[in-house]
Amino acid sequence: MIKAILIFNNHGKPRLSKFYQRYVRGRASLYCCNCIHSGLIGGSDNKLIYRHYATLYFVFCVDSSESELGILDLIQVFVETLDKCFENVCELDLIFHVDKVHNILAEMVMGGMVLETNMNEIVTQIDAQNKLEKSEVSHICHWYQCALIVL
């Protein structure tokens, strides 16, 4: 099982944090490094698997049932998917669209279990959901425009 997925930059600023197991944390966790130390490493069945891309660290905290190579592969798929969805992803994309990153992640990992590793499939689902969202949003915008005109 995957216990947590964290993305932070070279300075330790969190860019995404997703915990699949509850743990108590305080304000100290502003910096991810701290929260890993305080909350996760304590257990015996934990290992941290990470890859470093440009300015970002992608850290997966997993238990012994996961293979290191498998997780590394998964991180690669994750990053490639981000790259595809954001068109040349960079740290700024993650900063401003953390919700989208969460949505993408949700198509790959669900409740700490790996859901899908096929990038094309992930992207298809993300696109379909975005399209659905767009159609809804444009409905709303349209409604507001009409309202504006009335006013």
Binding site: A54, M113, L115, T117, Q129, L132, L151
Partner: protein, 1070 residues
């Protein structure tokens, strides 16, 4: 009242969204906490609103704050409200927030049960999906109990997307509500055979997790998993299954045996990677690791696999990576310990190759081979049908051929004459017999020279005694050679008895060194001057010769006439026909010896070896040939040697440095060893030795002129030359280029030629050509990329994003209708201006090209026209094209009245293959101070012989700030007044490393950024432009030695800074 409410919500619409919040936090680095608490207050206000969109926005922001460590549990109820929104957009935000902050202790969580149940049964699969995802994070025992049944139903949903999520979440349900495991398990098992690989993978995941607890429950599934393992290509699933088997094998030992085969296949793939990995530095280390595996390996197949890999890796590219051949020989000798391998001949071939070609190693090789011969009983002991005994072939030959290097010749000769040898396969015995004579000859010579006559006779006697056992051999070759040699030796014996010195004559039998010859050596021999290989040495005999055997005719005249006639008649065709006939005859003639493969070749793929049944041998005694060197020691030795070399080198360097007064002492310690630094222990100049003298150094003949892939032999690292650039299609304006606006100031004042009044055009060319699959893709990116794209750090090949279509799309733009835009631009002398995009690529990989150009519209201060040229490059007919752009708050596509915002605009034409046409789209903009990027979709129907398909294409239109500018002339006095007015904001940039001429530089600014030159003095120029909304933009451009500084003034500071940023981008490419 109602109106007020609506108005209120509209105001809310322009509240901070997540991006604004993030930006705000970044802008308040000093008082972040204060800013955030202010934001939280705002959020609280927003949450009080009735409008669900506002609430969702607030919750979205809270989710972000939660990541930063702020407690948001107080908003749990609001989160549930957003979760229950009807729109997917909001629902997703709600569930995300819930998954981030809900836990078992959250009391309101029980309120969600019904909502979740409702979502699970929603007709929209994404509603269901998002609910499952959320639930997986905050499922509680209560929720698990209440929803287990619903989820179980979903496991058989029609959509695989739902099925896989349902399967996966079952694990969470089992954890919280273990009672559900037994009833759900049969269905879970079914899912292992689901047609969808995603669902399969999910089921494997769940069962693997479950199997950690009580593996024996899942033993019955082993066959199913075994099937999956052999059929699946999904790495993730494979890893999981292997893990699972790891848990299962202790319970069922028989499983282990079954697993060897598929696992070996996996390892096999990994071994292939080793090829590329090796270098001089790591070869020994890698081979050492492989040798350990060889020792441990259980299956013969796998062991053989490793063996061939070791040899392949070592021998690749002419032993390029071997620095120490002694090491390699000892590796080969160690490999002979492998009983039951099929690859004895491979090892043998390597031994021969190395011993023959590497002269320096011969002494060592011979001593090793002698040892092998001495221990032949170990190698061939168990069965004569043992593949490994092939190495004795090599050993015997090497010992015989290079017998002068042998130290204990007698002992080796005796070893070769042992009775046991007769159990070896015939072809090996034959080599034994032949080579023992060589050995005998050299011993004889030694003894005679030393004057030990008795010893010489003794050795002859030994031969005479032992050879008869070979004479009786059932193998013809062995028998023949042995009897022949026996007679020879008996004759020598007679001479010896007469005390005649014979050694010289015997040794003469094997005189001359056997040199290796490169396969291409013959070709490389230069043709001596004056020799024409094509010329006839003798005139070709006429065919009449063959007729000579015919009974001579009495009609002499006739025959003469015949032969005279015939000669010119023999043409190619005739010859070919005759050759054919001859071949036919030969084929039918059993006495005709047909050409056969060379003996060497025959040996290499001796059919007999392949067919020898491989018998597994139980090697209870570890086979360690006494006195054999272990290759391991070479690894150490090599390290020491390298270390020494390095030290020596360092010493030399130090000396040099001392001379240089040790300026860079630091550097020395940082010296890293590169591949080139490692000098091989033996200098092996294989190639030159094996080539004839005067061999032509050219390697041309290495390349087969008929090689179909020859064209691909291209150095891709070389920078592209101008001539190599792919042709970029430019849009030529066919219309009248004369613009009415002729008074526009000329940019290059010094230009001598009359300037063409060319219509201004900005162009983005990004061309992608994707050839059919498997073909190499060649890409040339447009010269200019939009700034946004370049900022991205992960540089990923764009073409990956393009669909697997053959064509590319290009957008192009220019606006014909507005007179203003025909303002003339700085075309300079003859220098062509690079094509350029004002915007990002529109989209790639379509069945055609699409270029676009954005032009401001003077008549309307908030409109720009985008002209798109569609070009169909496919062979299909394209029709029903519709272009739609997703409006942003700032930019909207102007649609016909009555159509909704998500309606596309139909393109008013169809495109037959190879045709291009242009359509214009008008966009309205609210603010032009910032660049815009709009996303859009082009949908169209592709019609060809096979039918028609509906396709879609996403693209982006980039409105740069420069595209809002319209080149407007300005006189210097007006310009001065403008500057004096003082209500302009000022900003400046400086760009270094500019090498182009100032004139060209100005032209670029004019061209790309729509400015006109007001005045130019030496390397200083003032420029002016106007935005469609009437902003004045003034520039002062100064060129320094290598840099350019641009001071800008504008009514709007944001616009100015954006413009300058864009300009910087352009200039930095100069």
């Amino acid at each position: 009242m109602a109106l007020k409410m609506v108005k209120g919500s509209i105001d809310r619409m322009f509240d901070k969204n997540l991006q604004d919040l993030v930006r705000g936090i970044r802008n308040h680095k000093e008082d972040e906490a204060k800013y955030i608490s202010h934001c939280i207050d705002e959020i609280k206000q927003e949450l009080k609103q009735d409008n669900i969109a506002v609430k969702a926005n607030a919750v979205c922001k809270l989710t972000y704050l939660q990541m930063l460590g702020y407690d948001i549990s107080w908003a749990a109820f609001n989160i549930i409200e957003v979760m229950s929104a009807s729109k997917f957009t909001f629902k997703r935000i709600g569930y995300l927030a819930a998954s981030q902050c809900f836990h078992e202790g959250t009391d309101v969580i029980m309120l969600t049960t019904n909502q979740i149940r409702k979502d699970l049964s929603s007709p929209n699969q994404y509603d269901t999906g998002v609910a499952l995802t959320g639930l997986s994070c905050f499922v509680t025992p209560d929720l698990a109990r209440d929803l287990a049944n619903d989820i179980m139903t979903l496991m058989s949903h029609t959509k695989p997307y739902i099925r896989k999520k349902a399967v996966l979440i079952m694990y969470k349900v089992f954890l919280k509500y273990p009672e559900s495991l037994r009833p759900a398990f049969p269905r879970l098992k079914e899912k292992l055979e689901d047609p969808d690989p995603g669902v399969q993978s999910a089921a494997v995941n769940v069962i693997c997790e479950l199997a950690r607890r009580n593996p024996k429950n899942y033993l019955s599934l082993a066959p199913l998993f075994f099937k999956l393992m052999t059929s699946s290509t999904n790495n993730w699933v494979l890893i999981k299954i292997i893990k699972l088997f790891g848990a299962l094998t202790p319970l069922e030992p028989r499983l282990g045996k079954k697993l060897i085969e598929p696992l070996t296949n996996l390892i096999h793939r990994a071994l292939d990677l080793l090829y590329g990995m090796v270098s001089k530095k790591n070869l020994m280390e890698i081979v050492k690791k492989l040798m350990i595996h060889v020792d441990k390996a259980e299956g013969t197949t796998y062991r053989d696999e490793l063996l061939t890999k070791i040899i392949d890796i070592c021998s690749q590219s002419n032993y390029q990576y071997i620095t120490n051949f002694e090491w390699y020989i000892s590796i080969l000798v160690e490999l002979t310990r492998l009983e039951g391998t099929r690859h004895g001949h491979l090892i043998a071939a390597q031994m021969l190759d190395v011993a023959i070609r590497v002269k320096a190693i011969r002494k060592f090789a011979v001593s090793q081979m002698a040892m092998l011969l001495d221990n032949a009983h170990l190698i061939a002991s168990n069965t004569q049908r043992n593949g490994i005994c092939e190495v004795l072939y090599a050993a015997a030959w090497i010992c015989g051929e290079f017998s002068e290097h042998l130290e204990e010749s007698n002992q080796t000769l005796e070893a070769m004459l042992r009775p046991k040898v007769t159990t070896l396969p015939g072809h090996i015995q034959a080599v034994y017999v032949q080579n023992m004579v060589k050995l005998y000859a050299s011993i004889l010579q030694q003894k005679e020279q030393a004057g030990e006559k008795e010893a010489a006779q003794e050795i002859t006697q030994l031969m005479v005694d032992r050879l008869p056992q070979f004479v009786q051999s059932a193998d013809l070759e062995v028998q023949e050679r042995a009897s022949c040699i026996l007679q020879l030796i008996k004759y020598i014996q007679k001479l010896q008895i007469k005390e005649v010195p014979v050694a010289e004559e015997v040794i003469a039998l094997f005189a001359g060194e056997l040199n290796p010859v490169a396969p291409k050596a013959q070709k490389k021999v230069p043709v001596p001057e004056g020799l024409d290989l094509d010329a006839w040495i003798n005139e070709p005999p006429s065919d009449s010769e063959s007729e000579d055997e015919k009974p001579k005719t009495i009609f002499h005249d006739e025959e003469q006439r015949h032969s005279r006639h015939r000669q010119p008649e023999i043409d190619e065709e005739e010859l070919a026909r005759r050759r054919e006939v001859r071949k036919q005859e030969q084929a039918n003639n059993p006495f005709y010896i047909k050409s056969s493969p060379s003996p060497q070749k025959q040996y290499q793929d001796t059919p007999g070896v392949e067919h020898i049944p491989v018998v597994q041998i139980d090697l209870s005694v570890p086979l360690k040939v006494p006195g054999m060197p272990m290759s391991d020691q070479y690894v150490k030795l090599e390290e020491e040697r390298r270390h020494k070399q390095k030290l020596e080198k360092d010493k030399k360097k130090k000396k040099q440095k001392k001379e240089k007064k040790g300026k860079h002492r630091r550097h020395n310690s940082l010296h890293t060893e590169s591949d080139e630094d490692i000098a091989p222990a033996q200098h092996v100049d294989i190639i030159t030795e094996e080539m004839p003298e005067n061999a032509l150094p050219s390697d041309e003949d290495d390349k087969d002129p008929n090689d179909p892939y020859k064209a691909l032999d291209i150095d891709l690292d070389k920078p592209l030359a101008d001539s190599e650039k792919l042709p970029v299609q430019r849009h030529r304006n066919a219309e009248n280029l004369k613009s009415p606006d002729t008074e526009a100031p000329l940019v290059g004042k010094k230009s001598k030629k009359p300037k063409k009044k060319e219509k201004k055009r900005k162009e983005k060319e990004q061309e992608k050509e994707k050839k059919k699959e498997k073909e190499k893709r060649v890409t040339e990116e447009g010269k200019k990329k939009s700034s946004k794209h370049r900022k991205k750090k992960h540089k990923k090949e764009k073409e990956e994003k393009s669909k697997d279509k053959k064509k590319s799309k290009k957008k192009h733009h220019h606006g014909e209708e507005e007179p203003a835009e025909s303002v003339q631009n700085g075309t300079l002398d003859d220098e062509p201006l690079p094509v350029r995009s004002c915007a990002a690529l529109a989209s790639l990989g379509w069945r055609g090209r699409c270029t676009y150009d954005i032009q401001g519209n003077l008549q309307n201060d908030s409109q720009v026209t985008v002209s798109v040229i569609f070009e169909n490059k496919s062979t299909s007919f394209l029709k029903s094209m519709e272009l739609n752009v997703l409006d942003s708050l700032n930019a909207k596509m102007l649609r016909p009245e009555g159509s909704s915002v998500h309606d596309g605009i139909p393109v008013p034409f169809q495109l037959p293959p190879g045709i291009s046409n242009e359509a214009q789209f008008v966009f309205t903009l609210q603010s032009i101070v910032m660049a815009q990027k709009l996303k859009g979709t082009l949908s169209f129907i592709v019609k060809n012989d096979e039918g028609s398909t509906h396709e879609k294409l996403d693209f982006k239109v980039h409105f740069s700030c420069a595209s809002y500018l319209i080149t407007t002339p300005c006189y210097s006095d007006a310009f001065a007044k403008l500057l004096e007015s003082g209500d302009l904001h000022m900003s400046s940039i400086k760009v270094d490393g500019i090498s182009i001429s100032f004139q060209h530089l100005l032209a670029k600014i004019c061209f790309y950024h729509h400015f006109s030159v007001v005045e130019r003095v030496d390397s200083c120029a003032s420029m002016y432009s106007r935005s469609i909304q009437g902003h004045h933009v003034c520039l002062l451009v100064k060129k320094g030695e290598n840099s350019v500084s641009v001071d800008g003034k504008c009514n709007d500071s944001t616009l100015l800074s954006n413009l300058l940023d864009e300009m910087k981008e352009t200039l930095s490419k100069c």
